[in-house]
Symmetry: C2
Subunit: 215 residues, 2 copies
């Protein structure tokens, strides 16, 4: 089977949440030559996650290649980025050109702040739901969903939900068999039901000590 190689652009910023980024990149990374993954940030160079480890951004917004897919992770670092006009301008320009524009956890607040989720359905982290949803007053925020697909925009609930969402996007673009094969390779029990959300019961209950979140 010959297919064109798509490009996935992963957007990094300081204090991104590790699994928001790497759950999806693990699954997409198993596509091999069918997908090129590139990392993009304010500027090329190391970008520090909340607990410390840094990922190398290969491109700045200015020189990032054309992307077929976008992935925006969340994390405690999302909130200061809501005022980063360079990042919001990048999303506003690039997301409408994508087949699929994804976010994990609070990452959907960045699409919302860019106006891209106006009139659309989306979801986000459950424990911090309302604080994140405030970024998109014209968005239909779904309180119970592992992930939500509204056309090209696919937004997941908190952290681990991004992995389930990614396999659904792989199934959409490369076929269900590819997604199932990747789940088996990675010994991952894929939760295939976007509507099943065992964490909705924690809505707005963010009682976690701030230090547990690395804040």
């Amino acid at each position: 089977m010959t297919q064109r190689t798509r490009t996935l652009g992963a957007v990094l910023y300081p204090q991104f949440e590790l699994l928001d980024l790497y759950g999806p990149l693990e699954m997409f990374g198993c596509l091999g030559e069918a997908l090129r993954i590139v990392t993009i940030a304010d500027q090329a160079g190391p970008v520090r996650s909340t607990p410390g480890p840094s990922t190398h951004a290969e491109f700045s917004y200015a020189d990032a290649p054309a992307c077929d897919l976008l992935l925006v992770p969340g994390g405690i670092g999302t909130f200061p980025q809501l005022k980063n006009t360079a990042l919001l301008d990048f999303l506003r320009t690039r997301a409408p050109q994508c087949e699929v524009a994804m976010s994990v956890c609070s990452g959907s607040a960045l699409y919302a702040a860019a106006g891209l989720l106006d009139g659309k359905s989306a979801t986000t982290n459950k424990q911090f739901f309302s604080a994140i949803a405030a970024a998109g007053p014209k968005t239909n925020w779904v309180k119970e969903a592992r992930w939500v697909e509204d056309g090209a925009y696919v937004t997941s609930s908190g952290v681990s939900a991004g992995t389930d969402m990614s396999l659904a996007v792989i199934a959409r673009l490369w076929g269900r068999a590819a997604a199932e094969q990747i789940a088996a390779i990675t010994e991952y029990e894929w939760q295939t039901d976007a509507a099943r959300d065992p964490f909705a019961r924690y809505l707005d209950q963010a009682k976690i000590a701030p230090e547990l979140l690395g804040a």
Copy 2:
């Protein structure tokens, strides 16, 4: 509650598997000030994963700080590392000093090659089981286990299994409540039973096209 800050050393090498590293680091990263995470490799600098994204190694083996925990990911890059005497010497020196020495997927082959799993029980990736187990002829390789704890050595099955293992290690060192709270924060459905292994049925069935593994 005041606790000493422990240090977790994550060992990187070219073509490590992303989720092997970052599933665990997500969970451990939620411990906040209770744990410092450091990244260690042959030399400090960016280390490329199989699908492309690079993680910055902060330390070389020579200057790595004392570690209370070690984490060795697997990946297609494990196999050439079996001959990396600098890495094996590092593990041979450091692992016996740790409270817990962990591996994910084929990472256990590196402990085995260093002689650290002689006479111990361990597990690894199921689809590539025998190829990996060959690195430790004196190890009791467990064919059906999500992870195996043998004293200080805690080895997990493939890729995603490392996340379940990490929560078990968090429960061991910081208490069950901490592990459950972290699973809830990260919207992760923790599989708490080390003996439950739905992927054991794929034992040595690695029929995946090499390009899907990024080889």
